[in-house]
Symmetry: C2
Subunit: 266 residues, 2 copies
């Protein structure tokens, strides 16, 4: 066994930077996965684990199972994990995982897509991945301007969905719209000012549902390019729904319509 790594060790400094810097993650081609459950899900999904850092209170059987499968596990000195990890209460184990290759080609094989045009909050983005997976949405597109799909908080909030839902990123909203149109997706924009309730459009056809910025929603050219604009009708004095809640509600309406259609035609 090696000596526990201190905060000054260059591997620790690199991990800390990976947890914080999107450009550095991109440059290095890896991202951070925190905790037993998410690391297990990364392994299950076939992700390549580059290395693992373990705090002194790590579960021995867990780190042994990683060692047994050929993963390099570095023990950390006490207090070091707290300085690497992004979470307020860090998990005792953290993996550096090879970033997946997101391929636009997935879009041609799916019948529903969520498109995040400018979703800034990593927690919202992760929650959207989670509910998209649960509702059976085919893929999620992160347009330029949206948060990094591989940020530690997005990974955590996704509850592992980031390892399973096909994702497209590094694409402008304009290019995403062009590609989706060329694939005969019906483009549905969500906008607070729209007249049509979201449940009154056909979500059984091949559809892409677009969500805008948390504060401003979809705007300008993107909104103008939509085949339909829809609203989630809101009661009371609430101003609007959180974008992750809106995405879940539309995703499950899509699932409902598809279940309903298939039981009717059966």
């Amino acid at each position: 066994l090696t000596n526990p790594l201190t905060y000054k060790h260059k591997k620790v400094q690199r991990a800390r930077k990976l947890a914080r810097k999107r450009e550095y993650r991109k440059d290095q081609g890896v991202f951070i996965v925190e905790g037993y459950k998410l690391i297990s899900e990364a392994v299950d999904s076939g992700a390549a684990i580059e290395s693992v850092f373990a705090a002194p209170d790590v579960d021995f059987a867990f780190s042994q199972s990683l060692l047994d499968s050929g993963v390099r596990v570095y023990p950390l000195a006490a207090g070091v994990m707290e300085r690497i990890a992004d979470a307020v209460t860090p998990q005792p184990v953290l993996a550096i995982v090879r970033s997946p290759q997101f391929d636009r080609a997935v879009l041609s094989g799916v019948s529903s897509v969520l498109v995040l045009v400018d979703v800034r909050d990593p927690g919202n983005a992760g929650t959207i991945l989670r509910s998209a997976e649960a509702a059976g949405v085919g893929a999620v597109v992160f347009c330029d301007g949206s948060v990094d799909v591989l940020s530690p908080k997005t990974v955590r909030s996704s509850a592992g969905a980031v390892f399973r839902v096909p994702v497209v990123d590094a694409i402008t909203a304009g290019d995403a719209i062009s590609i989706l149109k060329s694939l005969d997706f019906v483009l549905i924009g969500t906008a607070g000012g729209a007249k049509t309730p979201y449940d009154e459009v056909d979500l059984v056809s091949r559809v892409a549902v677009l969500f805008g910025n948390e504060a401003n929603g979809l705007e300008g050219e993107v909104l103008a390019a939509m085949d339909h604009s829809v609203v989630i009708p809101i009661e009371g004095k609430s101003e609007s729904l959180n974008v992750s809640m809106a995405a879940a509600i539309v995703s499950f309406e899509l699932a409902r319509q598809r279940r309903s259609r298939s039981s009717t035609s059966a």
Copy 2:
């Protein structure tokens, strides 16, 4: 103007305890509301503001408007708000607000209710209040075992809905069920093991939808007392939805059915 209060001042110590102790909030009959927006919403809802604490960087116009309306505003010395407030990055203003009197009688005047049997996470509880308001749900019942509806994090997560959605608390699940049955509510339990999809039950009638613990869902006698048990069908490898997501999906299905019914009968 009074001198800024230091951390040792008894009013500061009391506020700190109010932010942390449910029993103390109950005993004192007040709760904590943080930030400009939430305090404004508390005022708009007619809540009685007992007093306000303002950090040195408070917006002058905001504290002046409170002073003008007769609210006692205490300036805090630098660094004191950080030790009172529950949030990681505290807002520069914090109010102590008289707790509302939650009255079970509201249940007789509404046609839909969410019942939280054992929802432990304050963020989930607040998010449920927010989506319940947005979907037009009539009231939310917090059964014993659930988080305090007036905890700072619930208040924050509710985005002000806590001031507007009728709430019932201090009630056992058994009493809530008895009362709702006596008022002819159809009781619908959400349970991962149920066979009926949530959208295949009638949510237009007078319904109460019950949600259980984050980890275990509804169990035992409570589940046995339901008229229907429903599930939100989940695709993929996701294990289950977060309870706040589940509540939003069911609440908006209820709203959808009611809109759809009223447009059909019109």
